[in-house]
């Protein structure tokens, strides 16, 4: 049995922290010892910022020093922060990271692994599904891994609030490990049931170390503000008064952009941060260095983000569960100074949560469609081939395939770029659906618990700790006075104006769908001179501002409100399409033959342009919104319009044109219309729509 070198461990801690007199916190040393000496399995339940990374870095280093292999760490969020990386470097622990966005570094990492120069490899669980990662990186380390670290281990449990499909692989791997490979599972948030489940997965020899959860320096408060205008106004007036910098969480990418735009317009130095932000690292650094007042972020700003002096965490919308809320708000109040954790609760929160809950799993019908197609395929199907066969959104197809492929005896498997049906019998396995139902129920309960939290007048921290089965004895009162909930009328009016001026770009499509459009006989790339220009829409179908008016006009009044016409006019003023359009045409419809032409004519009257019909709707087809993926939508448009050749006699035909439609969905209708017009010699085509269905 390798001896655990106590003085070396303490020495590493002191080098790592840079504090020559520091000592281990309770549990830290026992944890390291258990892993190094006994090659044991350990679950650490400690709040974020407690120092879990010191446990695995020091354990890794000690294992390496007695000649054992490297450590492999799985974490959903690899934003190991600067201070952690610096600590590892000081202890000369050589850490390497593999993420989906650093493929260009894989060669170097692979080379380092080959030369045994990596002590700990950090990987996101979904990499395990990536054959390139498996072939190039994992295969080089798999036979030597001495320590498996599972960060955010609660994600393993399908009893968990945060069950992640990709963790099912980790669960299977952890369950199949023989004795001799040490396992360190860490989490900040595991309630009793999740802990039981983890104990079952990680085996009877699992040791558990659990610490308190309360954060005494955090002042929690909840404020109900159904209207977005009120919340925007409150943020604009409150955030400047708060000490230090912080995070404002939103539920959607679009809202993070929207809130950031608004606050910047109000003179606050904030940035939007979400999974699609190109400069995430720079943004994190800017917040760490207090160069910005705050980041307006989705949950993409991850659990690993550690800034001890964060002054506030404000939620613009309520998360769907109390545990998520605890994790997110717990990013503040880690250091000495007091911090605010404020939850604003909007009208839309519940809808968004319901949407997440409903969309989390495929339906039985979706699963049987996907399996049916794969069963009848001779040699498997690629994703585009599958999308051409089943009328489901591509994202839904991918989700179904992913969840199914992660089952222990998966009914589907990917080989190269094709999906195949495996010989595992599926129909007689109700466990998948039992789990789906259980998780759906659980999430509904969590949503209700969140609503209870929102309604609290006091005792917020107690509520959170209790919800997480925390072992805390005593909970201190909030360290700060509550914030005012008042806003001025003037700010509220400005917020309302801001919300009405959200012009959304309609990006042009540059390629025909996979397999082309046979009736129009087109495929591949669309020549640039046949494409539409980037268009504009007033807003989103469900934005609560314009969407409601469009719905009313289309389905109740059979006529669009004057306010929409006015809004289009002022949008064109802001937009300034270039080259400027000289005439107006529109998308024809057999279902509502007069609705859009009437809108286009009224727009012409206010703009002083002339209107001309240019296209004819031919044949009967399904409503575009019933087509669920881009290939189906494109096919539904194939041959749907013909060109009215008489319009070529119109003198302005060769000039740029404004192409009007009411609702944009996939953009195929506009793409085909623009192509028809351009290929007959029309000038640039600028699409204009009232609202768009996609979130861009």
């Amino acid at each position: 049995m390798p001896r655990y070198d106590r003085s070396r461990a303490l020495e590493l801690l002191r080098i790592g922290t840079g504090l020559p007199d520091t000592k281990f916190r309770p549990h830290q040393e026992e944890a390291i010892r258990h892993v190094v000496e006994r090659r044991g399995r350990l679950l650490l339940v400690q709040k974020t910022g407690w120092g879990k990374s010191f446990v695995y870095f020091i354990a890794t280093k000690l294992l390496r020093e007695i000649g054992r292999g490297p450590a492999l760490l799985f974490s959903p969020l690899l934003s190991l922060m600067r201070n952690q990386i610096a600590a590892a470097e000081r202890m000369s622990v050589r850490a390497a990271r593999i993420t989906s966005d650093n493929v260009e570094r894989w060669d170097a990492v692979e080379e380092k692994i080959r030369r045994d120069e990596v002590d700990i490899l950090l990987v996101a669980p979904e990499r395990l599904a990536n054959e390139r990662f498996v072939d190039r990186v994992e295969s080089r380390i798999a036979h030597r891994v001495a320590l498996l670290v599972v960060d955010e281990a609660h994600c393993i449990s399908d009893w968990g609030h945060d069950f992640r499909p990709d963790y099912r692989r980790i669960r299977a791997i952890a369950g199949g490990l023989p004795r001799g490979t040490a396992v360190l599972a860490t989490t900040a948030t595991a309630n009793g049931r999740v802990m039981n489940d983890l104990a079952k997965t990680l085996g009877p020899r699992l040791k558990v170390k659990r610490g308190p959860l309360a954060r005494p320096s955090l002042a929690l408060q909840t404020i109900r503000m159904p209207a977005a205008t009120d919340r925007l106004a409150w943020l604009a007036e409150t955030v400047p008064k708060l000490r230090g910098s912080g995070i404002i969480y939103t539920l959607t990418v679009r809202d993070s952009e929207l809130v950031a735009d608004w606050l910047r317009q109000r003179g606050l130095d904030v940035r939007a941060y979400h999974a699609r932000s190109p400069d995430r690292k720079e943004l994190e650094e800017a917040l760490l260095d207090n160069e910005v007042k705050g980041l307006v972020a989705t949950t993409a700003l991850g659990m690993g983000f550690d800034k001890p002096d964060l002054g506030f965490v404000i939620h613009y919308q309520a998360p769907c569960s109390v545990v998520h809320y605890y994790q997110q708000v717990g990013r503040a109040g880690r250091g000495e100074g007091a911090a605010y954790g404020i939850l604003l609760n909007g009208r839309e929160d519940e809808d968004i949560c319901d949407h997440f809950i409903r969309g989390a799993f495929p339906t039985r019908k979706e699963v049987s469609q996907v399996l049916g197609s794969l069963e009848s395929a001779e040699a498997g199907l690629s994703l585009p081939q599958l999308a051409a066969r089943v009328n489901m959104r591509r994202g839904r197809i991918e989700k179904a395939l992913k969840l199914l492929s992660l089952e222990p005896q998966a009914p589907v498997a990917k080989e190269g770029s094709r999906w195949h049906r495996t010989p595992s019998v599926w129909e007689s396995r109700p466990r998948f659906w039992e789990r789906v139902e259980r998780l759906t129920d659980l999430r509904t309960k969590e949503k209700r618990q969140m609503q209870e939290y929102v309604a609290l007048g006091s005792g917020h921290m107690e509520f959170l700790v209790r919800a997480l089965d925390g072992p805390d004895w005593e909970i201190a009162p909030p360290p700060l006075d509550p914030l005012s909930v008042d806003t001025s009328r003037r700010t509220r009016i400005e917020a309302a104006r801001f919300l009405r001026r959200l012009d959304l770009p309609i990006p042009p499509r540059k390629k025909w769908p996979d397999y082309g459009l046979p009736k129009y006989d087109v495929r591949g790339r669309i020549p640039e001179e046949m494409q539409a220009q980037e268009g504009r829409a007033l807003g989103m179908w469900e934005d609560g501002v314009w969407g409601d008016l469009v719905r009313k006009g289309k389905y109740e009044d059979q006529q669009f409100d004057d306010e929409l016409v006015e809004a289009c006019k002022s949008m064109i003023g802001r937009w300034e399409p270039d080259p400027a359009p000289r005439w107006v045409t529109c998308i024809p419809s057999r279902r509502h033959p007069d609705l859009v032409p009437a809108l286009a004519r009224r727009l012409c009257d206010t703009l002083g342009f002339q209107f001309r019909d240019s296209l004819l709707a031919v044949g009967s087809r399904e409503e575009q919104k019933r087509m669920r993926n881009a290939i189906q939508k494109a096919r539904n448009v194939d041959g749907a319009f013909s060109f009215r050749s008489e319009v070529t006699r119109y003198p302005l035909f060769s000039q740029p044109v404004l192409l009007v439609d009411d609702i944009v969905d996939s953009g195929w209708t506009l793409t085909v219309a623009a192509w028809l017009l351009r290929s007959r010699g029309c000038g640039e085509v600028h699409p204009l729509a009232l609202c768009t269905l996609s979130r861009g």
């Binding site: 054959e131 199949g176 001779e378 080989e415």
Partner: protein, 444 residues
């Protein structure tokens, strides 16, 4: 987890399996020499050492495993330690196999196929990977072997044999390769019968092939391989695989073969020679082939070509799993092929078939003792058995000399050119002992 590995099986996999992580199927990177899995011989020496101490393989997984065991079996203890340190690779490989419905059986598992345990002993593969109904592995059946490239009529023959087996409730055991193998297996499964496919490579891909899927799902097909499910094709693998095909069957039918070369020939010759797990038959209908004639000359019988389920069952009943243990005399003789039209071997009379049938059930040593008349040189013995001289020396003469059943006429000069061999009294006693397959006509 649908099936949990016992600690013994975990240890066996860690020690002997390549545990390929990565779809490439190449030698896994990081699997340098010091982490090379044990060969069968190496593993056997380690297992013997464990057994002597009354330990099971799982003992190696304990915190303080007796590292001197490795030393005693002349293995590098550091290599053993490194192999056992592949826990993550094992868990990951299991996870990947299970995703495709692939299970693992090791020598330590009670469900390990009985026929292989009995016939191959210590030479049986330490690990079997498979997909589908495991119970089929203990049902015996008809081994159908042949080459990849075959003429249409030969493929049709194999398919018909498969279909006939299906209607008789006899499983087909074959190699899953293109040509004869697939024709026979498809013939069986398409007709609602059962098949056992023993693969030399790429099990993980084979389970996705549509032609296999339905039969696997209905429990009528099992695919097995002694090689990692991600392993690519390798000639040596195909050879060792052939042994398992015979090993899991009750009787074998060679549909076509090259003469003197190729996997089918070598595999059948091994059976006719030292292994002799099952009787070997050769196709006896349609166009002839030099390879089949060659096999006949080495003791293979013409396939009686049964046409009805009853006929097939009778043929199979002549070849129960444990044919070695039964007396050859009481065993119902296989139906001799007639000289009617279409007979492949008109030169051989019915009696020749019977003799061949009887010979083929005897062990190599017994066959030598039977063939030895008076004093014979090695060349004469080889000729009378229809085998090569070196093979006779290795598999026939040497064991008989060691047991004292046969003696040399010039004992002082074993390699003398005038050396001849004769039957000793001990050899004669052995031949008379019950259970030895001595045809009555040779006793005179």
């Amino acid at each position: 987890m649908t099936h949990e590995l016992t600690p013994d099986s975990q240890a066996i996999l860690l020690l002997t399996a390549p545990l390929l992580v990565g779809g490439g199927g190449e030698r896994p990177a990081g699997l340098e020499v010091k982490r090379k899995p044990l060969t069968l011989r190496e593993y056997n020496s380690l297992a013997a050492e464990l057994q002597q101490r009354g330990l099971a393989p799982a003992a190696l997984l304990n915190d303080r495993f007796p590292i001197d065991i490795a030393r005693c079996s002349r293995l590098d203890p550091r290599r053993i330690d490194r192999l056992l340190g592949r826990g993550y690779a094992l868990a990951r490989a299991l996870e990947r196999w299970e995703k495709r419905g692939i299970w693992v059986l090791t020598r330590a598992d009670a469900q390990y196929p009985r026929l292989l345990r009995e016939r191959m002993g210590r030479n049986r593969p330490p690990v079997l990977y498979g997909c589908g109904n495991r119970a089929l592995l203990d049902r015996g059946g008809l081994a159908v072997v042949g080459s990849r490239a075959v003429a249409d009529d030969v493929a049709v023959f194999a398919e018909e044999v498969g279909a006939l087996c299906a209607s008789s409730g006899v499983p087909i055991v074959s190699g899953g390769a293109k040509g004869v193998d697939q024709a026979a297996m498809r013939g069986a499964t398409d007709a609602g019968g059962c098949a056992v496919g023993i693969l030399a490579n790429n099990l993980a891909r084979a389970v996705l092939v549509r032609a296999n899927r339905d039969a696997i799902m209905q429990g009528r097909l099992v695919l097995v391989s002694p090689y990692d499910p991600a392993a690519r094709f390798f000639v040596g693998h195909a050879m060792a695989r052939n042994r398992l095909i015979y090993g899991l069957a009750d009787s074998a039918l060679v549909v076509n073969s090259d003469l003197g070369r190729g996997g089918t020939w070598t595999g059948a010759m091994e059976q006719l020679g030292k292994l002799n797990y099952v009787p070997v038959n050769v196709r006896n209908r349609g166009r002839t082939s030099q390879g089949l004639v060659g096999l006949m000359e080495h003791g293979a019988k013409p396939w009686p070509d049964p046409r009805t389920p009853d006929e097939l069952r009778r043929v199979m009943a002549g070849h129960p799993h444990d044919h070695r243990q039964r007396s050859g005399g009481r065993r119902p003789a296989a139906e001799p092929a007639t000289d009617s039209q279409g007979n492949l071997f008109p030169g051989r009379g019915a009696s020749g078939h019977v003799a061949a049938a009887r010979e083929s059930v005897a062990t190599p040593t017994d066959r030598l003792l039977i063939a030895l008349k008076g004093e014979m040189s090695r060349d004469e013995i080889a000729e009378s058995l229809g085998l090569s001289k070196s093979h006779v020396q290795r598999a026939y003469l040497r064991p008989c000399l060691e047991r004292g059943w046969v003696a040399r006429t010039i004992p002082d000069k074993p390699s003398s050119v005038n050396q001849r061999f004769f039957l000793t009294d001990r050899g004669r006693d052995h031949l008379r002992a019950p259970g030895v397959h001595e045809p009555a006509d040779t006793r005179q």
